[in-house]
Amino acid sequence: MFMTEADGVLPPSQEEAEGHALVNLSRRDFLAGVSAGALVIGFALRSGHALGDATAGGLKNVGGGDATPSLFIAIESDGRIILTCHRSEMGQQVWTSMAQIIADELEADWDRVEIVQAVGHPRYGDQNTDGSRSVRRNFHRLRVAGAAMRAMLERAAAEQWGVDAADCHGEQNTVEGPGGRRAGYGELAAAAAGQSIPAESEVGLKDRARWRYIGKEIPSLTVPRIVRGQGTFGIDVQLPDMLVAVIARPPQVFGSVRTLDDKATLAVPGVVRIVRLPTLQPPAAFKALGGVAVVAEDTWAAIQGRNALKVEWEAGPNADYDSQPFAETMMKTARQRGDVRRDRGDVYTALGAADKRIEAEYYVPHLSQSPMEPPAATARWRAGKVECWACVQAPQAARSAVAEACGVPEDDVTINVTWLGGAFGRKSKPDFVVEAALVARALKRPVKVTWTREDEVRHGYYHSVSAQRLEGGLDAEGRCTAFLHRTVFPPIPSTFQAGLDRPSWGELRLGATDNPFAVPNLRLESGDAPAHVRIGWLRSVANIYHAFAIQSFAAELAHAAGRDQKDYLLELIGAPRHVDPREEGAEYDNYGDPMADYPIDTARLANVVREAASMAGWGRELQKGRGLGIAAHRSFLSYVATVVEVEVDESGRLAIPGVWSAIDAGTVVNTRHVTAQTEGGTLYGLSNALYGAITASDGAIEQANFPDWRLMRIDEAPRDMQVKIVESNAPPGGVGEPPTPPAAPALTNAIFAATGLRVRRLPIFTTGEQDRLPIDGLS
């Protein structure tokens, strides 16, 4: 069941008409329909009075935030368990994992669990569903909420029965007491609502051995609906009297309309009117890009209307951005000494004294997140307040951005979160929600802004382009004595503060400052690069290019030393120990979590290397043209090692017969979906490495749709992939992003092993040319 939480009522959707499921039913209507005696303290809490007050206090500030049960749990008199998911569902199965955590401690009957998607509101704490942190930041908090709710049910039963609460135990939606007494959660709901919330110290969390749902392979709560075409994504929202807008945006960021002729547009049947959007002023942040919205009765009329629009654009300050010369300029920067961001020993002296010196330069282009559902948002104004429905990762950021752009208080903005048809970082930038709010206000009617694929590819928040130079020194035995890493890229903060061009510590910590290698002399330097497009985060962010460079270079050092890639990588990782980059001058925040809980643990990194190698049969005899490559990387507090096998024929044609990944994400909630994320995250990385390149010419993006912005298809995907989840009692790490960084270097290391061709510049294949590696036959 999918219900939006806010007041607005959407029209019956197709599935409701067919009687499948409750969709888009408003929270208030839903609650009004709940039978008397239901435990709906969540509602009262939201209203800020009455029932809610009885339940306030207690658990406002447990590890991870507010664990007040009513924030997440409502129990109906018929025993249904309604859980509010405050994180956005975008395919990572967060509905399922959040529900598993709560339901386990609550001892809910899984078959009675239903999900309500939360609106964007600070009461939930952080809702920005990125950074691979839904489980790691909410695990304890949601366990406490579930256990506290169970304790309240047990106390309510004890009161009714006149027995000691310690003798009452909630199990599978029923409280059992002395003498065979039993009462269902539904029957106890009203009485439980009157119980005070226990303190954290009074809440007994289950022992790991007694977990019923956590750590298990629980099927997805969304998939049964997906296979029937049900579920509401952002682009699917329909309101009564709604219009659809498609927007012509300036080709260059900070460009503007010079001349506009809308005569042909307004003649297109179905087009209602056009709306000029304000010209974007720096910084870009989450503001609308500007341009001209074509508003029509339906999507096709809006698209046709935009096609008929005659606009001449003022190119603005980014008109000189050309990817080719920019790449050369960045690489020149990388050849000079930069700002020291971490320093161990004396790398330059050690390089000078080395028996052998290896240098390599790596380049990774801009990428687009390209979720299959492009950005889409619907807005409706009523009495000066705006309600939005959108596929957003960060509904609170959307709320702030809409409030700022429209000059209204945040309390007058409601953001309903739909399902997200993929996101990968794009949908944590709510510029498209701002557009919908602005256009709907101008029309005085509900408006859905739909981005076409061309819009998504040409007007993104791009993964940053990067140039890196690595230098290594080997001693007479081939041991690495010096490791110099220089990284140059336009930083993400430039999107939020115009003119920033220095790589931020927040990006360097993603795979660069946290380099775990045990070499005596190690230095990280950064070089500046200005941004000419909106730079944003994409699944695993700077880890992509940092892991590509470091893990490729590790294999290059191994080759120079005449050693096996995997053995040499283990030697670089070194003895089991905890690495703290702060001791070597680095600004480092460990993904916002304490080093004590989540150390950089080289034993765990080495372990996944051994596991992946063992799964792949590392060292086995390979046919001619085949090769294995390995890469390992810690990101988002988890450890992943990946082995890729490639097969290359005489003509340079590439196939990927197998991939093996080992992931150590600490405690995992759902083994099936961690495996699926490891598969998907790895293939996402392989797709980008094989084909991904967004380029600019005269400041405008050259790609437009899937022929020229190419994504991996099934015939290009690995034929098979095996995943091993390392069993661990460590606290949960991230899962959605960590599989991506090692994918590209494992692939290029495999290509080197198979052919001797070292790929240092991504993507591997140039779109529009034949997919052939430039090899001269097979040796």
Partner: protein
């Protein structure tokens, strides 16, 4: 222009602009949102429907070209093959975000209808028109093979 459409067995009479892609008639006019927009140029397969049992990209199919043919969408596709595919898809949780999966499932049903026991090359051929950015390809391949096995028994 006035047209008549048969979608999942139901007759619809409506007024449309000539050349409107079937996709937008399904979604915006009939409210059948299970069929998805992904690219608009028949490159990604998210909009796949069956027209007289054959897979078609509805984003580039002018609605008037359908004529009297039967349109089947993800909401209405039924039968032994559809059941086997849906079951196989659920058994291993193929979908992640699910957005492309309407199209994936419609293509998989077509593949299994014409090739009940597909090998890897058949799967490549039958499914390479459908892009999945979550990259669920490993599970799509397994699920199609599982569905084929289930259909045999």
């Amino acid at each position: 222009m006035a047209i008549k459409l048969t979608v999942n067995g139901a007759r619809h009479e409506l007024e449309v602009e000539e050349g409107t892609p079937l996709l937008w008639v399904l979604r915006d006019r009939l409210g059948m949102i299970g069929t998805k927009y992904g690219c608009g140029i028949a490159q990604c397969g998210a909009c796949t429907v069956h027209i007289d049992g054959q897979p078609k990209r509805s984003c580039t199919t002018p609605v008037e070209s359908v004529g009297e043919a039967e349109i089947t969408t993800i909401e209405g596709v039924r039968g032994q093959v559809a059941d086997a595919v849906r079951t196989a898809w659920q058994d291993v949780d193929v979908p992640q975000c699910g957005y492309c999966q309407s199209g994936q499932i419609m293509s998989a049903i077509s593949l299994l209808q014409s090739t009940p026991d597909p090998g890897d090359a058949d799967i490549d051929q039958g499914m390479s028109g459908n892009i999945c950015r979550c990259a669920t390809y490993i599970r799509i391949r397994h699920a199609i093979k599982n569905a084929a096995k289930a259909m045999k028994s």
